[in-house]
Symmetry: D2
Subunit: 428 residues, 4 copies
């Protein structure tokens, strides 16, 4: 029998699961979050004010189509900027009592994946995604529920607390697109602690991993090659072949990944070029990503990648445009006072805690962590272990919802301990 909190969490999670919306299209998702935070009495910020320069926006057609679907949504605040893709929301609880400022970050976007129907609980229990080709296949629906419930609990205890809590509901984590923009808004300028986490991954059921690093620096680039078409039989010499330029570029990019200082990665993941068998192809587009175990490797690699792309276009007399679609810095976890403090705290609550893990992948929360640490603050990433029905990003991905309650309890405990007024602590 579920606790009332878990019942509430499950209800929330499933509501967001149904309206799964991918990066920069989280229109309904954002409106729901704002409404919820607003009801809790938090100061809520959203729209352009919480953004700098956004990366990796979907095409205007895709944005317009999704807007058309959602513009009937009624609410008593101005949603125009949200419909322009300024998604996400930030809720602030300011106790007005001097104390530390703590930020929590929850990512809210879904994946561009068509959700499985067969043998899949969301289908069986009626909470499948309503949007074709969008699905919460990474658990961010759970993250939203955790964030909202944590905010609700903290608000209920606000009189006992000092300092400030900033609940960041970040859009477009998939493709590492949203974090940089949020950081640029300046919201993290005076933050002392930042916490974030993820359900699933390498965490065993009921295990909390405290202190995760090994996030690879990464850049996601789209490259457009533009040449000149010509009839391939009649006037081959009049063409300037964008397809050959892109193909040659692609192969050679993959030769750049040997670094003595650590791992690096290169992947051209998609390639689309040409319109007809008998025409010299005038256009090509490739989508690629690169990664580095350190920031230096990623930066050096990126500079060589960009140089190689531009030169490879010139080889075939075509032009090229490189568009950054996403990025994240590297982040290495090192055991420190704060992490040790949290480990002990959670163990004291009866959680099964392990310390330190390496992600071996990329996450744009690293922009936020970097910013906070730059200003002298502390950052901590947690994994909330749970049973998964399929790997992350799989059409049949689902998780055991008990993890939601454990996650709320972890975050709440850490917040309370850092923010409790002395008298409250005593009185408790």
């Amino acid at each position: 029998m579920n606790s009332p909190m878990l019942q509430k969490l499950v209800e929330l999670r499933r509501e967001f699961h149904k309206c799964a919306e991918s990066g920069w299209l989280e229109f309904e998702t954002t409106i729901k979050i704002i409404t919820y935070l607003d009801k809790l009495g938090l100061e809520v910020r959203y729209g352009k004010t919480i953004h700098g320069k956004r990366q990796g926006l979907p095409s205007q057609e895709k944005m317009d189509a999704h807007k058309k679907l959602k513009e009937h949504l009624k609410c008593d605040f101005d949603v125009e900027e949200i419909f322009q893709g300024y998604t996400g929301a930030i809720g602030i609880l300011d106790t007005k009592t001097p104390g530390p400022t703590i930020a929590l970050r929850f990512d809210i976007d879904a994946n561009d994946i068509m959700e499985a129907q067969e043998n899949h609980r969301p289908a069986k229990e009626g909470f499948s995604s309503e949007h074709k080709n969008m699905m919460h296949a990474c658990g961010h629906d759970g993250h939203i529920a955790i964030g909202l419930a944590t905010a609700q609990y903290i608000v209920s205890r606000k009189n006992d607390l000092k300092g400030k809590v900033i609940f960041i509901f970040q859009p477009a984590e998939e493709g590492v697109r949203g974090a940089k923009s949020i950081v640029q808004s300046g919201i993290l300028d005076r933050v002392n602690y930042i916490l974030s986490g993820h359900i699933g991954f390498m965490g065993k059921e009921n295990e909390i991993i405290c202190g995760v690093g090994g996030f690879l620096a990464t850049s996601k680039l789209d490259v457009y090659f533009k040449g000149q078409s010509a009839h391939a039989g009649a006037y081959p010499e009049k063409g300037r072949n964008a397809l050959l330029a892109a193909a040659n570029c692609t192969i050679n990019l993959h030769t750049l990944t040997q670094y003595s200082g650590g791992m690096s990665r290169m992947n051209v993941g998609t390639f689309h070029a040409g319109t007809a068998r008998n025409a010299v192809p005038a256009e090509a587009k490739i989508e690629l990503e690169l990664r580095g175990e350190t920031q230096d490797i990623n930066e050096d690699l990126r500079s060589r990648v960009e140089g190689m792309i531009e030169a490879s276009a010139k080889m075939y007399g075509v032009s090229c445009e490189i568009v950054e679609m996403g990025s994240a810095p590297a982040y290495k976890y090192e055991k420190n006072d704060f992490s040790t403090y949290v480990v002990k705290l959670l163990e004291a609550q009866g959680f099964s805690v392990s310390e330190g893990a390496s992600m071996g992948a990329s996450e744009d929360v690293t922009y936020l962590f970097q910013e906070v640490e730059k200003n002298g603050g502390k950052a901590l990433y947690l994994i909330f272990g749970t049973a998964l029905s399929a790997p992350h990003h799989h059409p049949s991905f689902d998780f055991s919802e008990e993890v939601l309650e454990a996650s709320v309890r972890c975050y709440s405990k850490i917040l309370l301990n850092l923010l409790m007024k002395q008298e409250a602590a005593v009185s408790k």
Copy 2:
């Protein structure tokens, strides 16, 4: 003021222009042709009986969708095989009097092009294509009209004639896909003369070019590469990269075009691979064509191309499948008794005739010509010059319809002269 024949031709041409259907989807087109030929009293053949092995069929989805559009069409003959893509029709006039057998070939398919609306006569005068992304942009609508009107005229003179006339309405000329199948049906086994032609191209308005060659041999191939996906950051070594195999294949294919015996051509016209930026791409498809000034060059090139494709797949440990989507042999025009005879005949009729031209492109009528010549027959290709509003295959392509009447008169004159019974000739 148009002649009644031209009025009829324009009406027919525009009817077919409206129901533009691309290769192997000429369902309504075929039904209309059969109905017309049948009314003329010709023996009509269609469906599987006029086909061998077809090349370059559209996807089953595309065929099903087009069938759905057309299956309501009523007619009193069995159209099931037509809806399976056994399109085209053959009308036979057998005078039962001994004499030569003459085949005429008319291609009937449209292009996969969206027809222009602005500044385009079909739009202004209400005969635009009814099918989105299909358009008669090469004048084959005119060819159908010419074929039907020629048949009508020849039928009207049948009592004066000896021998046999075979009117071939061939599907899927675009992409050189339909002719081989028609030849395999055996219809050309005892043909003494074959005529075909094209409106437009290098022909000046009102000019008839008699004797066209320089058709390049060609092969159209689709290649599918299949590898193994893997997370590009976490397990790059588990992937088998179909995109890299295809990219490398593509570049190297383009190094094969140096032949001492004549021109050759290679073009990889389209390239589509991969599904996500962060996954090692497991699938790639390329569409290519090769050409040779001679049959030998094309065959040698093709054998090297196929070997290179297979080896390039092996380089990356992926598999590949090569599908022939179309083909045509080379055809070189050489002045001969028959062509000289026709030139004189047409000049005597007052036509402005020039002799001999080189196409520098591919046309699958060369399969039919080759077959007839192999059996000792004669072949002749004509260009019927006309004013064009835009180049062939352009969304704004249109032609001056007067050319239709001139074309019918040419074909009719040649047929009459070859088939006239002596007594009829005298009485005339």
Copy 3:
């Protein structure tokens, strides 16, 4: 029994065969030619005065080594410039009587080939090349003999002649390196006729082919790539890989040969890069050539080739240098009054003459022909057919020496007919 002229020709040819010297190293060859022409009483020019900018010089080491071999040669004229590679010589017979100016061009260089000893007449009869890795494998030793003997004969008839004859003994035809330099000297400025020819090739024994064209335009380029070395295991990222840049350049260069206006050719013939298995290679050199059936194709191709080379170096962050080592324009033979005149003249002498042939290769005499025709003069290329023991450029190449006398007779006859004073013609 050989005629005295043939005896003399064989002796001369074998003398030059023995001292075979390849392009720009014709030190002894040039000294012998000068000495011979001087004895005949011709005005002789040589050294810098007969050259503009030379292409494709051998390395300084090679020049120095060959100079060391030859500097003991005694002669009573200044040979310093010859030893600097200003090889070749020009002999001028000026009759001082007004009349046409005729140039004859003979190429004098040997090939960088080691001459065969077994079953090879030069070895058997004691006139093998004295220079290891240099051999007259294209018959230019014969050309020198023909040129000297023709000069001797013409000098003997000088009192009967008007006008001027310029005997050009051109260095470095192999690799099409020497002609451009000679043309730049201005020697051809007022030439009315130019004749050149070649023994062997497609000419049948005793046949004279009069009027040869089909010379392809060509450019010979050396490319040097310079990067940065690094230990390939320890610091791969510190290297800038010249070998990969050159390899990638090479493959892509070979994709550029499709032209609608005629044949084109691309060949990277040699590739040398790297010094050690475990070092990122810092240097690479490729030797390539391109050709075009027309001048336009060759020029367009060359401009794309140079752009591609430079961009391919940039792809790998290396530098490159492109050095032109040789070049020749295209030359197309078209039947004309002069060629018809010569054909008739030679036929009247009892020669077996055929008119017009296509070379399908490159020869830098085309620079000289182009220059003379530009100034309104006439050019003619002849093939002197002869039996060959092996193809041109083969270590066992040799020819039937009777061809030498026939060649001298052809040239002499043409010269006499164009230059004979009327009174002399009468008196004769």
Copy 4:
């Protein structure tokens, strides 16, 4: 003032420095070592008996030329097999008293490098290499001296010792070629301890690093591509282009180095192809190496490399041959009882000892270590720090000769401590 031992060591080292001989050509070096060991009274083995299958032999021409230089050397044992490249020698001291068997390995080959003369002590003090293009640029001359002096000392103490000592003087360490062959001879079958080491590298002057790992697994391959030549202008289609096959192979090999399990490396270090600018190149040779942080990575990479090479030859219709020129397994150092024991022992002698280091390169001693550990024995690698005049493999490489005595003292101390009979230990 040098100790007598150091004087002897310097003399020995310089003697071997003068007769620097590279891998499998250590003819004089081997003869000197045998003579020395024999005089000490050790059992000496050499020639075929100490070898299995050798890798990476120099060309027969090179071996013959070096043999010619050395065959006058007089000695009273049979050197025929040595002159066939069965170089190296093994000296065995068997005390006949039961006890452990200890192997020491010293590498003896020089590098294919021309020794610097300017500002280089060997030149100044008269002990430069006598062989052009061969030089002891890695300090193996020092290793030989250390090995011989250690043997001499141990022999002097043999009455106090139990067990057996095997002194292995291994040829052809450069290019990781010699060790595998020695292991195959079976000499290590019953060895309990194996020690080896290197002077220089990351060791600080006077520092001993005890316990070195991080040796990368590696394979060194030569690849020969064989195609078909043809005149590049006249008959390009008749050629089968070995240069293009090798170039394409090379580029694509460099795309294979992304592994999740650790670093990997690929380097095509040299590339030589083609003979003439105007001929389709029929032959190409590349020299490459690959490395893996683990044995699994190296093996997986090698299997993909070989598959890719073979397929890339097929792409161009050419054949290929892959020849293994060298190889070494990975070796990872892990602290253990033996290493701890040695550290304490050396510290007790007053050495400055540090424990554990990672080489980040390859060394074929790992074959010997692997073999001994497979049989339950212990292995230990030491670095003997010393001042270097230039990095290893540099033409100006030299080292501070004091390191020789320290090295002998280290080895001797370890041997004594492991082999001292109890009574001897007591009596001492």
